[in-house]
Subunit: 340 residues, 2 copies
DNA sequence: ATGAAAGCGCTAACAG
DNA sequence: CTGTTAGCGCTTTCAT
């Protein structure tokens, strides 16, 4: 066995039959003598034979492998998506080639190159924060490689996409704040070019206007590198003459930062100031006070994206479509109770 | 381009030269006419050529791909390891095929089969909780596929391994509890067959004995399915006539469960009862009180395992060795301060 | 029911 | 410097 892995040739030689017969027997094709077939299968097991998928792929031009690129799998939201993808894929015998862009456009490019070279049957991508130009995605399409974008999607390309109802989620959150008597509601936003941040802003503005509240520029603050700036941005809001009485945050980490700062200022949550986040990170239920947040179905998102892609690969569905999953407002202790 | 991806043959035809020349030019081999080479490279770019790694792999018998199996990537500890692995691998142009066992032995077996069929150059595995028999790993070795185990390792196989100093970490934790005047220290253990849980128990016992404290069977409670049973186990300890004054927990999720229960019993942490966890999950710093815990360098663990494997693949090092990474006691607010 | 042979895309002798 | 050829392991005609 020193010569590496066992091949159908080894089996054929041992049994003194041709490799085509072995191949046929192994795949359970109809026109093989029952006895031959039995002997082949036995020998295969005895020699611990595993089919060489590389050879199969070269022949069939299909690898049964899909590629994923996410910014950073250490972020729970993404690991949950990746988990969903992998489970769906493995159920239908697809392998998953896994890459991280680390929020770098250049790395995303390199990842993509590697995945294309590996001849993945399809691609699942959540764009890096740096990515603005999507030329590389167009090149994927030219090569007829099925592509599904998720979460960090782009409007500049016509392909299948999975996202969540950001705008509606934000609307529901801000509406709840208004319904619980908050009037000066601030938005702790993400970078100005981040699509999801802008969509959430839309929902925020829409909810304010629907309640007859005029948005105040002063109350919208952008954090450039999400985590780091959040504390500063919060401090800035708290130093206003006319302080906010609620904070809607672009995501949970920002909200958690905000909570820390607010606590230091000795303000009571939610009596003095209410807070709502976005994502429903597992941490959010455990901190104190437990964070009210707009939950995104991350695991489901992964599953949905994977299904969409595999359907496309198998040619069940050639049209590109966008699936928008629902968000849900999870009420916890950083918001006041609704008076019935 | 309807015919799928571009091959060196397409380039050769367009340029009216042989495919071997194209192959040589593409790989920048010395003995190619500078002009020919230039024309090949230009044409390659023009046609958007990407080398077919499948074909290369079949020829070279190397895929430049490593396989990972982890129980569940949604657990931060594992996603952090996976992240470390992927970064190291991509730096040296290795792809990562990613699988999850979901703590199921059967799924682990299936994953392994798929990865072997994909002819990965090496394997990185953290065993499922169900896995007791390691026959499948021996078969991997018979096939001469380099294998590195990490975190959930097995003593029954001679291969490279990466783990952390569980015993020493536990010792440090329990010693700290003793040094801060705790005397009745309980151990909230994991399943009885879980290696890491047992190693941590050793450290626990060792620290007690070193301080002249006789271990009390009553104070060692096993949780079978880590998360679910923790609450019950804690309640059980609190109902003892002679209650514990400290809790050493097999991991952070268990510790966090314990904290909830203790709070409900209106006991003060750490005044009435101290708690120490294991892992340093990101949550642990954010809960209240912030959890004192034994930190495991998860990201580093991934990097280390990947390096070990790749060295082995490249034949730099054929011997199997075990790397034990250091743990660190991170003091937070579930333990008392040390009196100087 | 089985075998022989071609070919998937690429690399590596071996010739020229 | 370049072309020809064989072959990696497998599937699939096409014969027999």
């Amino acid at each position: 066995m020193e010569k590496g892995q066992v091949t159908i040739r080894d089996i054929a030689l041992k049994l003194n039959i041709s490799i085509s017969t072995v191949s046929r027997a192994l795949r359970g094709m109809a026109d093989v003598n029952a006895d031959t077939k039995k002997r082949v299968l036995e020998m295969a097991r005895e020699l611990n034979y595993e089919p060489n998928q590389i050879a199969q792929s070269l022949r069939s031009n299909r690898t049964n492998t899909i590629g994923i690129i996410v910014p950073d799998v250490q972020v729970h939201f993404f690991s949950s998506i990746v988990s969903g993808i992998q489970k769906v894929a493995s159920k239908v015998n697809y392998n998953v080639l896994f890459c991280q862009s680390g929020e770098s456009y250049q790395t995303e490019l390199n990842n993509l190159k590697a995945l294309i070279a590996s001849r993945v049957d399809g691609l699942l991508i959540s764009l890096s924060r740096e990515t603005e130009d999507i030329e590389h995605l167009l090149r994927v399409q030219q090569k007829n490689i099925p592509l599904v974008l998720f979460d960090r999607i782009s409007d500049d390309i016509d392909t299948s996409k999975v996202d969540v109802s950001d705008t509606d989620g934000a609307f529901k959150a801000v509406k709840y704040l208004i319904d619980t008597e908050c009037r000066r509601i601030a938005y702790l936003a993400g970078p100005k070019n981040l699509t999801i941040s802008n969509k959430r802003m839309e929902g925020y503005l829409h909810a304010l206007r629907a309640a007859g509240i005029t948005p105040d520029e002063e109350l919208i603050v952008h954090c450039n590198s999400l985590k780091e700036d959040a504390a500063g941005a919060t401090a800035q809001l708290l130093s206003l003459n006319n302080k906010p009485d609620a904070l809607f945050c672009v995501n949970d980490p920002v909200a958690i930062q905000a909570i820390q700062v607010i606590k230091k200022h000795n303000l009571k949550i939610p009596e003095d100031i209410s807070i709502i986040g976005f994502t429903d990170d597992p941490v959010s239920a455990l901190i104190e006070p437990a964070l009210t947040t707009v939950a995104q179905p991350s695991h489901e998102m992964g599953q949905c994206a994977a299904k969409l892609l595999i359907d496309q690969i198998k040619g069940y569905d050639g049209t590109s479509r966008t699936v928008t999953l629902d968000t849900k407002l999870v009420l916890r202790n950083t918001t006041k109770l609704l008076n019935p």
